[in-house]
Symmetry: C2
Subunit: 414 residues, 2 copies
């Protein structure tokens, strides 16, 4: 088997942790598997570099920032390689350019365009484990970086290019949970999720996998495994729908939630104005990220457009929409902060009608007032008062996860 193992910043945060990672890699190789390791920068070392830069310049040049930050992974890769060599496991650290990772010629958020796997394959053939710096590549001789979650992206891209049998993402949690265990004590680790569910669950508590990496994994059918570098637990496998359907599944895989949501409603937008296009182009232009969008028809002549933004952006968003008043001739703007979004996620939802209704019933029985609803094929989201989020998540977890599990148990025992 060829396995790509990616270790995040916490997993290589201290030399003590690097020893543990080296031991895990050594064991993988000792079992007879080939291993390509991808590492992030040690713990908070990237933050330390960012602080240095900020002491010198408000907005550092992108190229120089990439060159600065790329050193973080080079440090952890070299340290891990020397430790592996020390414990008798031949290894070699490789920077982005040494590993043949070509990217677009942009800085700070480049996409990988191709990987020349020759260097890696030669090392593997010689029995040497390559330790590749995550998060970085090269474009026309310049060091580039891949932006947030870049090391996950590096790992998935390497797994795809090398046609690896699996891509293990090591982090400080032991997998993906049905919801945040800090909110619901009964939250249960999932053995499997689909790529799509993983995307919808991305903002669940610990952000274990970057969405871009998940998208790439889905696109190249890379078998992803999220697991802890601190334990021997099996973790959660992220697989395609196909594979997933072969086993009995719960309708709802997990309950996701997000706090600090604000709702803005533009009331009475004349239909002929095509308000949606103007409003959301303008917001994007000003860098306001919009999440849920709902449009409802009030009359033939006018519509109400409502959307959510992060609470921090509420004033800016209202201001931006206000500038459109003369063009759009809307009636008024309403805004409300201190909201939250709670979602049920599950690939099984498509074939199970009535799941949304069950969600609404659960929330009504918990006396929670739903302010907005938005649905996708594998998700139903409700915007609710921020103060109700824990009660909502606990109730939904009982309805969709715990109840179903009890049912399963009954069946198994009969």
């Amino acid at each position: 088997m060829l396995i790509v193992q990616k270790y995040g910043g916490t997993s290589v945060g201290t030399t003590e942790r690097i020893r543990a990672v080296a031991e895990r890699v050594r064991r993988t190789v000792a079992k007879g598997d080939q291993c390509v390791v991808v590492v992030s920068a040690m713990g908070h070392s990237t933050d330390a570099l960012v602080t240095l830069a900020s002491e010198l310049v408000d907005k550092p040049a992108d190229r120089e920032m990439d060159s600065l930050l790329a050193t973080g992974e080079q440090v952890s890769a070299s340290l891990l390689a020397m430790r592996l060599i020390h414990i008798g496991c031949p290894a070699m650290s490789l920077t982005g350019w040494q590993a043949g990772i070509e990217t677009e010629a942009v800085h700070k958020n480049a996409r990988i365009t191709s990987i020349d796997t020759n260097a890696l394959k030669t090392l593997l053939e010689q029995g040497i484990t390559p330790i590749v710096t995550g998060f970085q590549g090269i474009a026309a001789g310049q060091i580039t970086t891949l932006g947030r979650g870049g090391s996950d992206t590096s790992a998935v891209a390497l797994a795809a290019a090398l046609e690896a049998d699996a891509c293990e993402i090591y982090t400080d949690v032991d997998g993906v949970y049905t919801t945040d265990p800090r909110v619901v004590r009964q939250a249960k680790k999932l053995d499997y999720v689909t790529y799509d569910e993983m995307l919808e669950l991305a903002n669940l508590g610990a952000q274990v996998l970057h969405p871009r990496a998940v998208e790439n994994a889905k696109h190249f059918s890379v078998r992803l495994i999220v697991r802890s570098s601190f334990s021997e637990e099996d973790g959660t496998q992220v697989v395609s729908m196909m594979e997933n359907q072969m086993e009995e599944r719960q309708v709802v895989t997990g309950i996701a939630f997000e706090r600090q949501v604000a709702r803005i409603a533009v009331i009475g937008v004349p239909t002929k104005q095509h308000g949606l296009a103007s409003i959301f182009s303008k917001l994007a232009e000003h860098g306001v990220n919009v999440d849920v969008i709902v449009q409802s028809v009030v009359s033939e002549a006018a519509v109400d457009v409502a959307f959510t933004v992060n609470e921090a952006d509420i004033d800016k968003a209202v201001e931006v929409v206000e500038t459109l008043r003369n063009g759009l001739h809307f009636e008024r703007i309403e805004s409300a902060a201190e909201l939250a979004k709670v979602s049920i996620v599950g690939a099984g939802m498509i074939s199970n009608p009535g799941v949304a209704a069950q969600m609404f019933v659960t929330l009504r029985d918990t006396d929670i007032h739903v302010q907005m609803v938005s649905t996708s094929e594998i998700k139903v989201s409700c915007v609710i008062p921020a103060g109700d989020v824990e009660a909502a998540v606990q109730a939904l977890h009982r309805t969709f996860v715990e109840a179903e599990r009890e049912a399963d148990l009954t069946v198994t025992e009969s």
Copy 2:
């Protein structure tokens, strides 16, 4: 003018210092000069990386150590480049491989074999100041480092390859002194020294220039200037003999000294045994660095061989020589610690007979017992008791530097 400026670790030790260096580079460019900057790693950042490695491995793999340490200069180069861009001076950081610095394919102590100056020249033509990481290069796709004083070597090699008009070495002292100002208050900054004098003075107090860089500068006739990044002083120019002879010079340029010297004497080595060869091959084999070597003929049948080593190596050296007893049939070994070496250095010495005698007279008059003497074309060294080193240096400074200076002043004033 094309100037290579090298800034050492103390000069870029903090972001505050990097601001100051950026300002100096900006001013150089604003004057109309072209500038290539070479930087060391920030202050003690290299030590921090070495500590990390030592927490993992006793003897880290050389290749990985190079890859680890090379990040230090990449950090300071990126930071300096972004600061320069910020203050309106176009700049770009370049790692060893980006700057085209090719080395031998060895790690930790590689020599530069060639520099492809195309990238640098292109940047200079575009009015962009290259900020090159010192201490490192590339060999067959592998990151290599140049060993101690490597950044000085990088700077001199770049100055030679680019045929620069000068190579300015910025450090935390404002030049080369006639002796250590901590020992002799009247020590005087030298405006000029020759390459050879610089080599002999290398171990003088602050080790301002690495010998290898001086040798290279001499070989390629690079005009070296040692100066402080903390002041606007002119510094000391390191020039060739030719240039230097054109002006009136003192016979003795400076007084060098070294503490922690031990002397070992092998007494009564039969002449036919070729003792010198065996003794010093064996010592080199065991990694004992030998400094002064003196052989005196006792009789036709036997010689006495005496040499100095660092005090820390005295036991090891005696042990090594002891293993040769059966082969060499020498009479006995004598050893003495707590010694020091004091030297007078000056390119003018060759044409001034009697300088050595003047040194011995000065030491005798100061009641200092000379234990060993060794001479070169531009240096006379005496091994003396460690307790006498300050008195010796002060007396020699009075005889050769202060007295001569007074004479100069008299002439000038007449």
